[in-house]
């Protein structure tokens, strides 16, 4: 993606509300035609970041650069970005057609051209023939489509989406995720997407920005973030993880749960305290006598594709995903190949959110 030019660049953005820091020193750039997702728990500052780009919030310090120009002081109506709001924010006094035409009418476009573009948009979001309907008569999913159409009809360079699917049910949400992704590719528009749903982020994004407590923790591709989480917070937030305190015996050997495990990481120093992260699907259940550690199965849950077992081994309860079931109470051996053991610097104490 590096061949694309930079679209938006946030430089040292900080934001305070009444002395409380919401964002501290955010540095982030977004490439043209990229699908970037800001991912984090509620209150992590992801919506504030989006609102600063949209022009609805003013940063306490730092600059917003748009195609090389400083737009920090520009009001929202002069920015070539459009926003899809969390609760849609459709105008209740206008019908579907007039909602979508709102931005075009402001540009004094001829009526025929407006109608042509609105119809094209209705087509794009699969809402043909809904023009005359009042927005109150639409379902949540339909309102969402109109909100997206209302923004896209202005042909923005960047579309900001603030948890646009948050109010939809699971099935509809999955459909819309795919539709949004294909719309983005079809139109070649930069999408900046805010969500707290890690699965949504993994499905749609080119780049994920993981945020917590007003800071960016990690920026990377979905695969990169899932496979190589930078710290325990990211590991825990993206997918399920076993996170355990351990000690680096020396390079490529880590000790936890009373056993030594070969691994592939190095450079932490001898006998340094570290966090060890192992995904549930990376733990292999083997015979009692061949495992690196042994444990007792405490509970089993059927999850469809796999079983989720809680296995107590070495004073830690491991979450293990496996397609074969071991009965509760049975003794099993556990082993992990070196590549699947992720070593990270121990987390500083996290500030509680807000």
């Amino acid at each position: 993606m590096s061949e694309q030019p930079r679209m938006i660049h946030l430089e040292n953005i900080s934001k305070e509300y009444d002395g409380v820091t919401v964002l501290s020193d955010i540095n982030l750039y977004i490439l043209k035609k990229e699908f970037v997702t800001l991912l984090g728990p509620s209150g992590c500052g992801k919506t504030t970041t989006l609102r600063i780009i949209g022009g609805f919030e003013y940063p306490s310090s730092g600059r917003v650069i748009y195609e090389g120009k400083d737009i920090t002081d520009l009001p929202p109506y002069k920015r070539r970005v459009n926003t899809v709001f969390q609760k849609y924010a459709l105008f209740p006094h206008l019908n579907v057609h007039d909602n979508i035409a709102f931005g075009l009418k402001l540009k004094k476009m001829p009526r025929a051209e407006i109608n042509r573009r609105v119809d094209k948009m209705l087509d794009l979001v699969n809402m043909n023939g809904y023009g005359k309907r009042s927005v109150d008569s639409l379902s949540g999913g339909q309102q969402q489509r109109i909100a997206i159409a209302r923004s896209l009809v202005n042909e923005p360079d960047v579309l900001l989406l603030d948890e646009p699917l948050g109010a939809l049910d699971l099935k509809l949400r999955k459909e819309m995720q795919l539709e949004l992704k294909s719309m983005q590719q079809q139109l070649g528009i930069t999408f900046l997407y805010v969500t707290h749903d890690q699965e949504e982020a993994l499905t749609m994004s080119d780049t994920i920005v993981v945020m917590n407590a007003g800071r960016i923790l990690q920026i990377g591709t979905p695969k990169n973030i899932y496979d190589e989480p930078k710290n325990a917070f990211v590991a825990n937030f993206i997918g399920e993880s076993n996170i355990i305190r351990g000690t680096m015996v020396h390079d490529e050997l880590v000790s936890f749960c009373g056993a030594d495990f070969p691994c592939v990481d190095s450079g932490f120093g001898d006998n340094a305290p570290v966090d060890v992260v192992i995904r549930p699907e990376d733990i292999v259940i083997v015979g009692e006598d061949v495992g690196q550690i042994t444990g007792i199965v405490k509970s089993v849950l059927f999850k469809g594709v796999h079983y989720e077992m809680m296995i107590e081994a070495g004073n830690f309860t491991w979450k293990v995903h496996s397609t074969t079931m071991q009965p509760v109470g049975s003794k099993v051996g556990l082993s992990v190949i070196p590549f699947n053991i992720h070593i990270m610097q121990p987390m500083r104490e996290e500030k509680p959110n807000e």
Binding site: G54, F56, Y77, H93, S151
Partner: protein, 329 residues
């Protein structure tokens, strides 16, 4: 009140109505084997029947009868032509020719038109003054807004008559304002007993009834809507014009109703601040009842006013079908 000539059937109707009402309550309690929730509305219904419904029936009765209780439309003819009775009397004494020289007396109609005009002015000025105030109060970035709300409410805790009389002490010839004008060398000015003073008093008294419904509907507005408008290219002024104003329309309609209605019927303010120089329809009704003692004409005038109010209410209700803007509309 020696001219309180209630028709005999009115007291009977009241008694029978009361008996029926109590009977219905007893019946309802027995049929439902206990007290139903709807029974709690009984005191209110009784109140409404005695103090709203019955007076309305009586007004209609008086308006359609003469002093002897016979059916007539003369009262409405007297509204249209205040010289109607005089002409009839002349006709029987001096004949048709003399009677024909008596022109139509337009005082009642003129007073009504004048009242409507004053009420319109009062409503329009209240809207022009009140809308920006409400806009300011509802702006959540303005810390002063909530203070302003309290400042608007405080005078309303005081009695309406007191507030109006307080204006007298400001405006009268030896009042505060004239004293000040004399002190700075301009000299005394006649401030009271004219149309402007009446209008001022009306606006002062009724402005809160415009501000609060508008304020309520503005503060209920989702701030995301104006953000969406700005996002789509509206500057602040266009946002106000295209989104905020249309969406606060229910509050505006409610405010118009709540200012216009009492403005048309007001009678105390013109009497105190207008000193009889400006006569409004409320004054006319009051003096027809109490000074002239003509209950039949007074009732006819009241009925005309009530019908006018009902018509305007139903028009306003069409514009605000959900009754969103709180209040009475």
């Amino acid at each position: 009140m020696n001219n309180l000539h209630l028709p005999a059937w009115a007291s009977w109707a009241m008694l029978i109505g009361l008996a029926l009402f109590i009977g219905l309550i007893v019946l309802s309690v027995r049929r439902n084997h206990g007290i139903k929730r709807s029974l709690f509305a009984a005191p209110y219904s009784l109140w409404m029947i005695i103090f709203t419904l019955l007076p309305c029936v009586l007004i209609a009765y008086y308006a359609l009868t003469d002093a002897n209780g016979h059916f007539t439309l003369d009262n409405f003819r007297s509204f249209w032509d205040s010289n109607h009775l005089m002409r009839e009397n002349l006709r029987s004494v001096a004949g048709d020719e003399v009677a024909a020289t008596v022109a139509r007396g337009s005082v009642n109609v003129d007073t009504l038109v004048y009242s409507l005009w004053m009420a319109f002015l009062c409503t329009a000025i209240s809207l022009i003054l009140g809308y920006p105030a409400a806009l300011f109060m509802a702006d959540r970035h303005m810390k002063l807004g909530s203070t302003l709300v309290v400042l608007f409410i405080i005078p309303m805790w005081m009695n309406f008559l007191l507030r109006t009389i307080a204006w007298m002490s400001l405006l009268e010839d030896n009042g505060l304002i004239n004293a000040f004008l004399e002190w700075i060398g301009i000299g005394r000015v006649q401030l009271m007993y004219n149309q402007e003073a009446v209008l001022l008093g009306m606006i002062y008294n009724f402005l809160p009834f415009m501000v609060f419904p508008v304020y309520t509907s503005l503060s209920k507005l989702d701030p995301k809507l104006s953000e969406a408008a700005q996002d789509l290219g509206c500057n602040e002024f266009r946002t106000l014009l295209k989104v905020t104003m249309p969406l606060s329309l229910p509050g505006v309609i409610s405010g118009i109703t709540m200012v216009f209605m009492p403005s048309v019927t007001t009678f105390f303010i013109p009497r105190v601040l207008g000193g009889g120089n400006t006569r409004m329809f409320g004054d006319l009704i009051e003096s027809t009842f109490l000074k002239a003692g003509d209950w039949n004409l007074g009732s006819a005038l009241s009925l005309i006013m009530m019908i006018l109010i009902l018509i305007s209410l139903s028009i306003l209700r069409k514009a605000d079908p959900n009754g969103e803007g709180s209040g009475i509309a």
